[in-house]
Amino acid sequence: MNARKTWLAALATASVAAMALTGCAGGSKPADENSLEMWHNSTTGPGKAYWDEVAAAYEEETGVTVTMVSVQNEDMDGKLQTASNSGDMPDVFMSRGGGKLADFVDAGVVKDLTDLISDEAHTAFGDAAFAALQVEGKTYGMPVAVLPQGMFYSQDLFDEAGIAEEPATMDELNDAVSKLKDAGISPVALGAKAAWPAAHWYYGFALRACSEDTMQNISVTHDFSDPCWLEAGEELVSFAATEPFNEGFLTTDAQEGAGSSAGLLANHKAGMELMGGWNAGVIADLTPDGEPLADLGWFPLPAVDGGAGDPSAMMGGVDGYSCSADSSSACEDFLDFIAKAEWQEKYAEAYNAIPASKEAQAAVTDPLLQEMMAAYNEAGYMVQWLDTLLGQNVGNALNAAVVETLAGSGDAQSIVDAAEQAAARG
């Protein structure tokens, strides 16, 4: 009797354990014409509400249900990777192009949308926005917003330091830096702890030093032999030598808390910051009252003398959405749906961002964004963030090398060397 009980218990334990162990192993689900699952990165606020509204409207029009899943931005890549390995990819997912998208393409988990996206969307968006979501000439995503880089600054602090005009050249920027210093203000906020904000300065100098072809091809060639890469490093070193950055910038976060670089700007502790188009929103969250910074201004990265790059060229990112390889045709239909001017306008309002569709640009009312958008419209061309373009491996090594150099333990050559070494490893 006793022994039997023991065995029964053992059996029960074993089966529970077996269930627990196999519970997570789901098979690949068949493509369903009437439902879509979508992963976006808005966990709260108007962004999340926007996607819920889109889902409701799309279901009303087509009868296809869209399940919206909010994924924390930082978790997105990891979760997508896990999902791709278990054959459980969402039908629609956020994509920012560059090397990460190329990895997904390599793995064969993203759908080629080149001939599937409607002509209307192509005309409304223009080639520039799509370029960011292309890999070897094929389109793998629908852009929704462009996020160009530029200098965010505090007008009050500029006035206090006696800077009358927005700096348009490197000399004027250096001049502004020394005026701010004389007024006892940290000139440039930099969150180098996360590395990429520091690397943005290097990318900026590279954008000015290197020709358009060199920049656009680097994602494929990974060839840093063009002297412009070294020049960009030298520009960075000489700019850093003027000590423009906030005290302790090496251990400053980029976006978390009042002590971060965005927080320094939000609390009038630093004059300016080089950052992507999302920064106005980040700064607004970090002001003492949580309201947008009233005196926040914006100007494009100043021109550098004698570079091969177009002085009006911009660097930036594109947020877009891709379809998984095994999604049904409802997926590309849904992407065409969100590309319509009506939904792009609502996107611009919800995210306070520059919509990818030129037809929806009228919906942008924020003066800061309008200024950014004007610069974007006039830009000769826009290049993806270099680390996105290069992919995690080289991009990461480049970012780390820039931080080393700013910390004083490297030079222009070591940035190029690090990128080349990583390229050889990946």
């Binding site: 053992a10 302790g248 995690q392």
Partner: protein, 324 residues
């Protein structure tokens, strides 16, 4: 096991009886140890084997690895000066933790073993940092130690501006800062272990010593320390393994990118940066294997030369039993 079974069965009993007992015993062992063994194999042994396998591939983490490159990952790990310096930092932390925390913990434990007012309060205060999560500790210290953080402005307020430092970013100071935080964080654990060890020393020995006229320090040196030996050796073992695998505090306070520059990177932060963040999962797995092997060798050497007296019997089977 058979030995035990034979002992249990009375001599001359029917053949069936021991066999039944034998099966029952096996069933019990399977029931009690089974789940643990399954979990251990699936979540510990299997990942180690998988990591060793992935380490031979150039692999981006998608699908099944198919780009076999032999030992290339391992070669580039050992060629990489940043990895070698990370290993150096790890071993520095191992030694410095032992040297700093050991004597301090014993002194604290001796102090708190005395009957005095507020003893339990002091115990709690020393132990509190240990129970606070690493993330909270890391975030807290990194905010206080910023160049424009609380510590420097406090020094400024009391007129000691000259002492203000770049506590985190300056490579000359950063390791010292890390050692201070580690000691502050983990000394509570060492003290609790030592206290438990002290309480197990029989009172009679101290009485005998005092009758023989031994001084306080003589008593500590001749009785307390030798009898505290097993506790100290176990603590040192835990400390060494913890130091070799240190990740969270460094990663939170310095970030993945600044750690190497500031001279506080460890093998684990190197693995996270060059494996996970760089998306080179094959390479990252190779680093994990190297980290595992280094820890294993250190652990085995320590077991062989320091712990063998304490663990005889528990780990070496018959060795212990024969002595009894």
């Amino acid at each position: 096991m058979t030995e035990t079974a034979t002992l249990l069965a009375p001599a001359g009993a029917a053949r069936r009886a021991p066999a039944r007992g034998d099966w029952r015993k096996r069933g019990e062992i399977a029931l009690l140890a089974g789940p643990a063994i399954v979990v251990f194999v699936v979540f510990v042994i299997l990942p180690v084997v998988m990591a060793a396998f992935y380490g031979f591939f150039k692999w981006k983490g998608f699908g099944f690895p198919d780009d076999f490159i032999g030992l290339e990952n391992y070669i580039s790990i050992f060629k990489d000066p940043t990895f070698r310096s990370a290993v150096g930092h790890n071993f520095f932390i191992v030694i410095a933790s032992l040297v700093l925390q050991g004597p301090l913990a014993i002194l604290f434990a001796l102090l708190m073993n005395q009957k005095m007012r507020g003893r339990s309060l002091i115990r709690v205060l020393i132990f509190v940092p240990y129970v606070i999560s690493e993330v909270v500790v890391g975030t807290g210290w990194s905010l206080m130690l910023q160049d424009v953080g609380a510590l420097n402005s406090f020094l400024g307020k009391i007129g000691l501006d000259a002492l203000a430092q770049s506590w985190i970013a300056d490579p000359k100071i950063a390791m010292g800062t890390l050692m201070f935080i580690i000691s502050w964080k983990y000394i509570g654990f060492a003290v609790i272990l030592m206290l438990a060890g002290l309480q197990s020393i029989p009172e009679e020995l101290y009485e005998a010593a005092s009758i023989d006229g031994a001084s306080f320090w003589q008593t500590q040196w001749r009785i307390t320390l030798p009898l505290l030996g097993p506790t100290i050796r176990i603590w040192a073992f835990l400390s060494i393994i913890g130091s070799l695998q240190l990740f969270d505090l460094v990663n939170i306070i310095w970030g993945q990118y600044v750690a190497a520059t500031a001279g506080t990177s460890t093998m684990a932060t190197y693995m996270y940066l060059n494996g996970h963040l760089a998306g080179n999962y094959g390479f990252g797995n190779a680093v994990a294997v190297v980290l595992f092997l280094i820890s294993l060798v250190v652990a085995l050497v320590y077991q062989r030369f320091a712990l063998n007296r304490d663990t005889a019997g528990a780990l070496t089977g018959d060795g212990g039993r024969k002595k009894r």
